[in-house]
Symmetry: C2
Subunit: 610 residues, 2 copies
């Protein structure tokens, strides 16, 4: 298990234009302020004042998970500050941190809800997100300290974490053993790296080792949850299937991968890899979305891929990518990067609008507007994912999450191992790391051409995407586990041949039987009502006909026109096959991540094959 692979963190890289550079520009110029303003309007920041009198006077109350929203926003802002210091932005962050520090209790405790409400229940109820919030504050503290050198929040989380060590590890005096929502485990690994203090790593390991061994008293958790919900069904090393709340699961697996590396823990790595195979071979949408069911926001069974009601929370999908990134730091296996790519370009990015100020929590693979509010007979209604992004949600975890994800996307790019540079992903930018420099020139994924210049390495390993059927390279290479290894070169050009291709899903995915989706490189495409005169659900596509390519600057990617057919309506509900007539009509495909950006409209990824 022992790995000498080192991660090259995102702040060593400056992305320039191209796909992700543009996404970061929008995030910095629009998203950061937009999320800030919505959080301010919804009292998330006022809550940091922990002023009960104020809340009673104005008739609102802080929420048990609001601190995590604030913390993720701070972390995302910190990531943007790595790009460029910004006094105005730092002033906002500093003010938030000042409020938090002012309200930290003498024993180190802090939670903007439990500081003023239900104080007797601190650390008593497993479902109440205190450690989840602390985890996010830790991540924010580490990020802001790195970006600015300011250590107030870092000191704050160290004091708070001391209390957690005392209550959970030393005294065992809390109402539960492991957090009801994982997050702190991975955050503690970051805190360990920043401070060098092993006690944080040990606390993380304590939580991971104890999960699935205790906490079966669901009365202290959610009455409707089963042990699967928060991955308590088995000790983590014995878990073989992705279960329960998908964000919780992903955050757990991230920490498991982190600890596998820190402790050279083969059993943790093996559990991670087994779970990775279950997720990616049985329980993942083509968009990289995970967690198909609204009920419990959860994984269900193999091949359950309802499209219109796909839950696939933005947070879960981007966390799948982050888990895969950690797996790539454990083993250079192309599949990890392939899945990371699938999740980052599709079901993660669909969580934010192209103009950067509105968000999806759920990311369905079909929107059939006729089904929304279809039942006029009762005031009860079936639940469908929203078909238009909102600026803020009641549970608004996704907006700051996609913000911090985009601003640290270069984290995915590189690792190095004993003189070998691993290039896991393709983005246009320059990197300086420990005296070495890397320059990638590419418009990936617009096309698959990549020029690379890297000094200080004796080998360069490029992940050859699984979707790529052939590629050309300027030098000789050896293939292993999805990577092409080039020896003794510092300059390289490769061309991963990228053509639109129709894909089908495994026979077990009943919902997609007889259907196909269009992909281009890692990008999943969809069709939208706004681009078609006819009902998009009445189209079939001829997968053998030519697909024409255009480039659309709005989407920043190629768009495609394929040969479609629509059944002619003859007025009858049911007709003989042999009497049906089909009319040829072009089908216009746009990137899935850009769905529902041009008004509320029907959308589908999968459509019948003619």
């Amino acid at each position: 298990m022992e790995t000498t692979m080192k991660h090259i963190p995102f702040y060593n890289t400056k992305l320039e234009g191209s796909f992700w550079g543009e996404k970061q520009r929008v995030s910095r110029e629009v998203t950061i302020d937009a999320v800030y303003d919505r959080f301010e309007e919804t009292k998330r920041f006022a809550a940091l004042r922990c002023d009960l009198a104020e809340q009673e006077r104005d008739s609102w109350s802080s929420h048990i998970f609001w601190d995590s929203d604030t913390a993720k926003w701070i972390e995302g802002a910190a990531f943007a500050l790595e790009h460029k210091r910004d006094g105005r932005l730092e002033a906002k962050v500093d003010a938030l941190i000042a409020d938090m520090c002012r309200n930290q209790l003498d024993n180190g405790y802090y939670n903007s809800y439990y500081n003023i409400y239900d104080t007797h229940n601190r650390f008593k109820l497993r479902g109440e997100h205190e450690l989840y919030c602390l985890g996010h504050i830790i991540e924010a503290a580490v990020a802001y300290y790195h970006a600015t050198g300011k250590d107030q929040l870092l000191n704050f989380v160290e004091r708070y974490t001391e209390l957690v060590i005392k209550v959970f590890m030393e005294e065992g005096s809390a109402g539960f053993v492991t957090p009801g929502h994982e997050e702190i485990e991975l955050a503690l690994v970051k805190l360990y790296h920043t401070t060098g203090k092993e006690k944080y790593l040990k606390l993380s390991k304590f939580f991971i080792d104890n999960r699935g061994c205790n906490d079966r008293d669901l009365a202290k958790f959610y009455p409707w949850a089963t042990p699967y919900y928060a991955q308590d069904h088995l000790p983590v090393r014995e878990q073989t299937t992705a279960e329960g709340h998908s964000v919780r699961a992903m955050y757990l697996y991230m920490a498991m991968a982190d600890l596998a590396r820190e402790f050279n823990d083969e059993s943790l790595f093996n559990a991670c890899h087994t779970l990775f195979k279950n997720v990616t071979e049985k329980r993942m949408y083509i968009t990289g979305g995970v967690g198909s069911s609204r009920l419990g926001e959860a994984f269900t069974v193999d091949y359950d891929m309802q499209n219109e009601k796909a839950y696939t929370e933005t947070c879960a999908t981007l966390a799948l990518a982050l888990w895969c990134r950690r797996m790539s730091q454990l083993k250079a296996l192309g599949a990890y990067g392939d899945v990371a790519e699938q999740a980052m370009y599709n079901g993660s990015l669909s969580g934010v609008s192209i103009d950067g100020d509105s968000f999806f929590y759920e990311n369905p693979l079909a929107v059939d507007l006729k089904n929304h509010g279809k039942n006029r007979a009762t005031t009860d209604s079936e639940s469908y994912p929203l078909s238009q992004r909102l600026q803020v949600f009641g549970c608004s975890c996704c907006p700051p999450n996609i913000m911090r994800f985009v601003n640290s996307i270069a984290d995915f790019l590189y690792t190095e191992d004993n003189g070998t540079l691993y290039v896991h992903h393709y983005m246009n930018g320059t990197t300086s790391y420990e005296g070495k420099s890397i320059r990638q020139s590419t418009s990936y994924p617009v096309d698959g051409k990549v020029s690379l210049e890297a000094t200080g390495y004796n080998k360069i390993a490029l992940r050859v995407p699984a979707w790529c059927e052939s590629f050309e390279a300027s030098a000789d290479y050896e293939m292993k586990d999805g990577y092409a290894y080039f020896s003794g070169v510092s300059k390289l050009t490769v061309d991963f041949h990228t053509e639109p291709r129709f894909v089908v899903s495994a026979p077990g995915i009943h919902e997609n039987a007889g259907k196909t989706a269009l992909m281009y490189g890692p990008i999943v495409y969809c069709i939208e009502g706004v681009d078609h005169e006819d009902d998009i659900f009445s189209y079939s596509v001829d997968v053998s006909a030519e697909v024409r390519t255009s480039f659309d600057s709005y989407f920043g990617l190629p768009t495609f026109t394929a040969e479609g057919y629509i059944k002619s309506a003859n007025g009858a509900l049911y007709s003989n096959v042999k009497d049906m007539r089909y009319e040829k009509k072009p089908l216009h495909f746009i990137p899935y991540y850009a769905m529902e950006n041009r008004g509320e409209t029907d959308m589908t990824v999968w459509l019948p094959m003619k």
Copy 2:
């Protein structure tokens, strides 16, 4: 509008063997006793004693709708007695009737719930089914009186109906104007025909004319209902779309058709025909099932045909057939008979098991067992229709309904109009009616050959089923509105050529895009897991290849083998179309109505076209 068409009631016909003769035999020999025993076990009959002390002692209480279950059982039993008197069965019926009569209040009121509970709420709450129950008791009384000449229950309902006339029409002293669940309106027409008393017809018209004009105070109804739920959204003559609770809707439309005939009311007929077109061109499953949503057991929007979650209650589908039968009595339009046939052979008959003792309330068009109970993370669960028939339900309206439907199926056969015999459906049997005799010899729908001998008519009109593309007849005919008119013949043979055929649904039915179903004559087919080694949802069917025919006595109908293909699984969730391999495997089709008779198994009507 004026029609001189006369219905030839079922009790003039004796069905002999063949498809429906066999169904009636099973119903008489098994279903009648099975439903009786289950109703006895579940206290439905004990409730008729209206003994509060007994109920308190034994800790159960009667239900507001139980009288309708009992009444439908009596009516079904009465229909069987038309076939053959049976002292044992009559003794059971007589005992039930004696209990009801003994507990009728002095003012005529009777309800086994409101006789002893909440007595101050009699006729006060629109949702409480008192008039619905009375309607069914009226139908039972009329049927039992006709079958046996015994008039106790007829006297009972006349006394009760007098009270209803007083309270609803004369005093207006009830808590509402029209019933919350239609049924009494159509029953009153039967009571009028049996007694000749016009006041019953007037009460029916009062309820029909007032529906949609009052009763907007939903606080007196169900808090979750909208005016659409019980067809209160518009006066009935202005209704153009089938809305709300589908059984309520069908029972309303039946009464509207009855009154259109009784009053030569063109506006009612036109409303019925408009609603018929909406139902059959936009809102009906291929099985004749109606009411797609579990929420409110309701119609939703055009083309909403979810298959796996199809609600399509047995009661609604058989009532669609009964409504169509009434429409055929108003106008000789083949479409009415076509739809009646579609509903009776598929989504109605699927409501009872082949051995006659268990029942479906919902009749889905697909059963995908992997989805049932799929979410292990929470104790909440998604609702799916049952995948195995039960012997009795909490709300057990369907079992006695399909029982009375099957035992009066010959009601569908004939009408006559000024010397013309209309043959709307094809069943093997003999009929004597007002000195005329009719003999049909056929094994329809096993094949389409029908021999007919009818004395006393100068014209015979045969409905030519819409599914029939060509037929041969032994004499010349003229076609009009779906009927072949034969003049001056008393003996005829026709052969409606019947071949298996693949059908597709209208483009608006998104769920079936790219999919096909197999039909044979009026019979819809399905495939079941029990007949296939592979996951049935991984099959496509080649609609251009030959379909082989067998006959299976278990189903009483032909079964078919078509050429199927399954995608070879390669372990990947998503693969390029061009890399997929398909393996040819036979697909075995059985009649839909016989689904889920051989253990719990996957099932689907629609499958992708290869």
